[in-house]
Symmetry: C2
Subunit: 400 residues, 2 copies
């Protein structure tokens, strides 16, 4: 099997890390100046590796091998969450680049845009799979400051560029390497995870409308406090969901805002962003039913409560043949130190798997930390992961 | 009794309303450009009324009568809550100005700074009463964006100006007119409220520290979600406080923030601004004990919870003689349509009452709405209120 170049791999990972460096992590939200600098830097590295490279109209960086014969697509996303980790996404792209250089043929590499959802839901990989219509792009806006996606694309120099789309049958399939982002590998002493399935997620915006008023003069009995309505719904979710959830179900209220948010004003409005995830589609819909029931109960109170879908993704099973190739490679380089692993996080592979066979490889996250600037993985695990990834890619390319 | 000039009164109220106009309300946060424009406008009107006028080093506008003999201080605050009402504060200052013009002697007028607490707690009236030390000014900052008070004072052109202080024994006392900000007058068909006491308030910042992590990969059992800890404490407050509270006790969580506040990140930090109010000091401390207990219980969970005092104010009783003078004037102009009324809101009168006899007059708030741009009072109630205020001031000046 061909040997990756560990020094070259780590050098590229650190080169990309220094674009948007924040403490020991990275701040490269999608289409920011640093995100675009990162994309152009990766495109240059792909070109230096002999790949024909473009940055397309949604920001995807696509590098194509000039070789004939069977091809595999390797990749992940390039942007980060705000002030988050250096490996989340970036690692999978640089692994793809290193495998392309190591094998020297048959490997295309993708650096997807906005997997992290600053503007939408898996915009880059969905665009490449033909699953993103222009009118959805018209409607998307930044989840933080409301900037329209079209404005952001124009500012990033991407307006009017064509969007690349996967040619049907062009690839044997898609492989993505990623940090685990949990502590299961580390806690069990394993060094590699072969992903079995990727969770689906249901995501909501819940809005509460009450009556803004003075916090000193408005008697409790006549208040229509939107903040209290939100708190009661959140508390009810925390009570109800554990009774329905499976062992790996997760749910999160990631943002709460009160309007106007002043200490001496009864909030007239409130909003929360809520989501839950599982690998079982039936369970996801049972959770959604329970949420709808709780919202209906909340509407019996003095405030009006409305729920809007921000998005739903379907749980995806990974390809059996690819999983077997990854497992053989893992057993060759780290015998007994790999395990099957469901993915609690969403990944571009769940989108690409709608178009071609797909699989994923996990490397450990130190302390299970991710979406935070302290996220990290040991150099030894990075090098091992990339070698296993290269072996599996070579075996899949060589087969059949 | 001297007659106020209703046209002049309403004209000045509307003149001030148009500085920082927002829809039908006003946006003049303390030391903003519009707040300073408002203060200079009021100072000009005071000078035109023959008062010797200064704007001092904390932003107070003080207009002094040139007459000899007994003097009364009349006033209220000039800044507003964000995007709030046109009468809250402003009305009391313009009433004072109109009474000074009507009586022609013995009336000093104050337009206090920052009663609304954008930077601190009753900064203007406390400064005038000698209750605000320089080192507190050094420590204060904007509750919204963190701008230091010293910076705001410099930008407002107030840095280095002397702060005016009440000369002991200079005044018979202090009278403040204000909108009720509740619906008790309107609901009971009364047109005037004679304030009996002003509530005290205890104000807190409660901070939750957990562990920021990925919302998909971090199992529920190992999460340290600062947002969930906040929600459980808020819900516990809503359950516990009604069992301890008196009939007019109020409590409010006016602001909640989750850090980093992203939909797919388990919040590692959270913060809430909480307050409660009552006229009974013993009850206030029983509520604070209950809050301390709930915070101690919250600390049994996976997050660290700390509570910091933002401020405490003591309930204040109004002067008996002044109340009687206000009641006689009310009965003369609106027989049977006035009532004794506790103030659920804090007012500068609670500060000034530490230095001299003080009392307050309320006019109705339409729909009980305040701290919102739809806040309003009928012209007839404004004119009636100012006339009663003038009568009471004249009687107090003439007495003894």
């Amino acid at each position: 099997m061909p040997q990756i170049d560990a020094t070259r791999l780590l050098s590229d990972l650190h080169g990309l890390r220094h674009i948007g460096l924040y403490k020991t992590g990275v701040h490269r939200p999608t289409y920011s100046a640093d995100d675009m600098r990162g994309r152009h830097w990766v495109a240059e590295r792909m070109r230096a590796a002999g790949l024909t490279t473009v940055i397309d109209g949604i920001g995807n960086v696509i590098g194509r091998a000039t070789s004939s014969g069977p091809r595999l697509l390797l990749g992940s996303h390039l942007e980060t969450q705000n002030h988050a980790g250096w490996l989340d996404g970036a690692m999978g792209v640089i692994f793809g680049l290193e495998v392309a250089r190591t094998l020297g043929h048959g490997i295309d590499v993708a650096g997807w845009a906005d997997e992290e959802g600053h503007y939408g839901s898996f915009l880059g990989s969905r665009s490449y799979c033909g699953l993103l219509a222009d009118d959805e792009i018209d409607r998307c806006a930044n989840v933080g400051d409301g900037t329209p996606l079209r404005t952001a694309l124009a500012q990033a120099g991407l307006a009017g560029l064509p969007r690349e789309v996967a040619e049907p049958g062009a690839y044997r399939g898609y492989l993505e390497a990623h940090i685990e982002q949990g502590a299961t590998l580390e806690d069990s002493g394993n060094r590699l995870g072969i992903v079995t399935a990727i969770v689906g997620s249901h995501r909501f915006r819940i809005v509460f409308e009450g009556q803004q008023n003075h916090a000193g003069t408005t008697r409790m009995a006549i208040r229509r406090d939107a903040g209290v309505a939100l708190i009661r719904l959140c508390a009810a979710i925390e009570d109800r969901f554990p009774r329905i959830a499976g062992p790996r179900t997760v749910w999160t209220t990631g943002r709460i805002t009160l309007d106007p948010g002043a200490p001496s004003i009864v909030p007239g409005g409130a909003e929360m962003l809520f989501q839950f995830r599982d690998t079982d589609p039936a369970l996801l819909f049972r959770l959604e039913e329970a949420l709808d029931d709780l919202v209906a109960e909340a509407n019996q109170g003095p405030c009006r409560v409305t729920i809007a879908y921000r998005g739903r993704s379907v749980p995806r099973q990974m390809d059996e043949g690819f999983k077997a190739a990854l497992e053989r490679a893992a057993e060759r380089h780290a015998p007994g130190l790999h395990m099957p692993s469901p993915s609690g996080a969403g990944h571009d592979a769940q989108i690409v798997s709608e178009r071609m066979p797909s699989a994923m490889l996990f490397v450990p996250s130190i302390g299970g930390i991710s979406h935070h600037w302290t996220e990290n993985t040991s150099d030894a695990d990075l090098v091992l992961g990339c070698q296993v990834f290269a072996d599996a890619a070579a075996e899949i390319l060589a087969s059949g």
